[in-house]
Symmetry: C2
Subunit: 219 residues, 2 copies
């Protein structure tokens, strides 16, 4: 089954555990924009991305958003299965940023395997470590980096992900990634434009001086 | 050995694993103010607090601080043993906030036990979950809560920890907990004083209206 090519530590599992996992996992498709998991109430299960792109974000009571991290091909995440761990009490929303195909692994099945399989238990700790590292990175960004550096960093990240310097993205979307307001992003982008780093037109931000943006991020 | 009364899942371990752990763990004392682990370079080991209080914080290049979480009696933390996990790349400083007695467990010993013991591997995932939950809480605070609510929440937390409404704490220290500047805290506390919520004197902040502070936090 194809699942075996995507599950990260497949070869470390016993045939029995492989069989349990591959039979329990279900393949889903999600159109761009679909909410796959909505923190507050559900325990969806673990997500394993086959192809596409997911965004994990935190949502305020007022509907503001800030991106926590993204998941790409072969990435796995258990923060949509918080019922699996007593200690995990977080509200994270997962949305498909592109058309996405993904497996969902039921939390009770995975929890059972964690108890029986050393490799799965250790892998799960490593997975928690990955997410912890990403969220700590975000804390450092929010606390210690000024917004101009964060916007510059975000534009460069998008350029790498999309493999183009002409980004089709609205100011509103950038604001939702960075947890700020649209007006603030518009002001910042106009400043970047006046400095020759980007060129703005309706619905697009074109990076015109990548080196200067990179220098700003590092400054 | 006393260690057995403090290690969280002692009764789930085999006698052999109990023996390995208790022989490897070393007991230390740290005077208030001592830096126990300094993120950038060391891999100190896992910390298990016997008595006292530790503060985990993030430090900016400019020397600013923000408190991530605290550890109290019987709390354990592996974020001072990042070498134990490939995926964990974070810079966290641990400081004794009170005179503290703690065990340090060598990372290589613990890593070996994680591979051999299902209960330890699962417990470690739970522990990561606890820290993740705390840091996500901080992200939500920083992103979605205004500073007046955060200062009010911090004062109430200190009141609970110290079991007194008369806190011996400087404005500088509060600023370091919340990741802001002393002047900002001084201005906020003076506003709180003018509203009758606190009474300020040299080196102390006295809570005079706990209910009003709590209402502000929830607002």
């Amino acid at each position: 089954m194809e699942f075996s090519k995507y599950f990260p530590i497949w070869n470390q599992l016993t045939p029995e555990h492989q069989s349990i996992l591959s039979h329990a996992a279900t393949l889903h498709t999600a159109k761009k924009g679909t909410i796959i998991h909505n923190g507050s109430v559900e325990c969806t299960g673990l997500l394993l991305v086959k192809t596409g792109q997911l965004r994990a974000y935190s949502l305020s009571a007022e509907g503001r958003e800030v991106t926590l991290y993204r998941l790409f091909d072969r990435d796995m995440c258990m923060l949509s299965a918080t019922c699996m761990m007593n200690s995990l009490q977080v509200e994270i929303v997962f949305q498909a940023e592109k058309d996405t195909t993904l497996w969902i692994i039921p939390p009770d099945v995975y929890k059972g395997l964690m108890r029986e399989s050393g490799p799965i238990a250790i892998y799960t700790s490593e997975l928690m470590g990955t997410r912890f590292t990403e969220v700590m990175w975000l804390v450092e960004q929010i606390m210690w980096k000024s917004l101009d550096k964060r916007v510059a960093g975000f534009l460069l990240e998008e350029t790498a992900i999309e493999n183009t310097t002409k980004l089709r993205i609205t100011h509103e979307t950038i604001a939702n990634h960075l947890g700020t307001h649209r007006e603030v992003i518009t002001r910042m982008l106009r400043y970047f434009q006046s400095e020759g780093m980007v060129s703005l037109s309706r619905g697009t931000v074109e990076i015109t001086d990548e080196a200067m943006l990179a220098a700003l991020t590092d400054a």
